[in-house]
Amino acid sequence: MGTISENIISNHIGAQVEAGDIVVVPVDFIMSQDGTTALTMQAFEKMGGKSIYAPDRYAIIIDHNAPSPVEGVSNIHKEMRRFASQHGTILYDVGEGVCHQLMPEKGHALPGSIIIGADSHTCTYGALNAFATGMGSTDVAAALISGKTWLKVPSTIKLIYNGILQSGVFSKDVALHMVGSLTADGATYKALEIYGEIIDALSVEARMTIANMAVETGAKVGLMRCDEKVVDYLRGRTSEMIKGVDATDDAVYEKVIKEDLSKLPPQVAKPHQVDQVVPVDDVIGIEIDEVFIGTCTNGRLEDLRIAARIFDGKKVAKRTRLIVAPASREIYLKALEEGILAKIVKAGGVIITPGCGPCVGTGGGIPADNENVLSTANRNFKGRMGNSKAFIYLASPATAAYSAINGVISDPREVFQ
């Protein structure tokens, strides 16, 4: 009897737990990517690992630096492929997409499950009611060998977002609002549970944008309910039985925050902290040199649809470069078939390989000194995109697209009248 976190963990160990308990739990799925797998493989070997506990429940994903731009990375990728084939694990190679899109899309992230990933945004699958959290490579190696991990059962902050979003305001704005109001360490060591009319009305993809950013408040997980939409989303993606886990009425929360977001304007995070969130009005007119639409936060089909709608028949401003990375091959293909990509390319955009793209500054799209970037990603730390002298603003795909056309930060509500 308890919060979603307590109930998922209790189900897994067959005994009732409560916040604060430290437990060893079985893990349902494990993920690592090309920035973290090298250390995972090293730790696995040093620990004396011979075989992987459940190779069909481990996905290795090449997305952060794909295709490889330098030989060092190429060699890491080669090792990852060798490790995957030696142990018979799942491998998603260059061009398949960003890890946090592939995990739900390929049916690996299921309601009520416990997932650990060697990437901090593993919390994205909370949108599918999975207790999913990021850990380091050594923790992941330990889980690969034993099928288990240790956890401190988190206490929970409950967020209830009611109302109806204005047109031109999207789930990313809700996510930025959440991070801005909780602050960058407001939920450290804790779980978030996110509810309300606004969440109910969003698609599963749009909910992922919010769960994705839970970690920017320090949270371990950002959990939502498993409703009909989640079941629909997973249809055809998994053959496993889908059964969500709810909180019970007697659940004890550390805090409950209830808000009506009907008046929420588009939100922008200013450099260099994710929680420096302001209404778009405060930054309107700031010149933008590069716009990046993509990442595990906002590279999904509906994000590209919104962007294409804005770009349709328009041109990106002369001073601005536009880079777009679909979050997966499936999304890329659908966007191609729907004519979305044609609209973006005609407007002057560049489409790059499904994957992380310029998000973490490892490949193309590195901004110059003193340039301003408007990105749909989840982090704007100094140096994040590969140049510590650049300035990164974060916003929704709509704000990003409309600002790309104007060359300055603009309010997308103007096009969604």
Binding site: G35, T36, W150, T188
Partner: protein, 170 residues
């Protein structure tokens, strides 16, 4: 082993793992010692050369937030940092430190200034500012973590026990 001594290098709040080691290096090399030369360089260029073996990083709130990269504690360790002392830590970083065997202490760091000589008693969780004589008490680590740290990190813990051995003391 449990008594450390070194100088404090002061940092502020919300020092993220991108600052500790930029993502661009993580992908270039597997060589932690090579990466260590770039530790904190976006915040403090040349920081690597300022570190003497056994020095401490002393910071404010939410140290190590951001990515789950384990390179962050490894790089600090390779750069010669003996322990990280902060008001609070981001959870994955904290866990990673224990797993790789880099000591972390959570306490009020407001009285520590850049360059202060510190003496740290890990077992007791006590930090002494040598010149001022001030003693700061750190929060005790959870028992699981003490266990893993005493084994020398999670790798050694697994080698020794063949799996998790953390619950038997209750």
């Amino acid at each position: 082993m449990n008594l450390l001594r070194g100088r404090a290098h002061r940092f502020g709040d919300n020092i993220n793992t991108d600052y500790i080691i930029s993502g661009k290096y993580k992908f270039k090399t597997l060589d932690i010692n090579e990466m260590a030369k770039h530790v904190m360089e976006d915040l403090r260029p040349g920081f690597y050369n300022e570190i003497e073996h056994g020095d401490f990083i002393v910071a404010g709130r939410n140290f190590g937030c951001g990515s789950s990269r384990e390179q962050a504690p490894l790089v600090l360790q390779a750069a010669g940092i003996g322990a990280v002392i902060a008001e609070s830590f981001a959870r994955v970083f904290y866990r990673n430190c224990i797993n790789v065997g880099l000591p972390v202490l959570e306490c009020d760091t407001s009285s520590v200034e850049d360059g202060d000589e510190l003496q740290v008693d890990l077992r007791k969780g006590l930090i002494r500012i040598v010149a001022k004589g001030t003693i700061i008490k750190a929060k005790p680590l959870p028992a699981v973590m003490v266990r893993i740290l005493e084994d020398g990190g999670l790798v050694e813990h697994f080698r020794k026990h063949g799996g998790f051995k953390i619950n038997e003391e209750g």
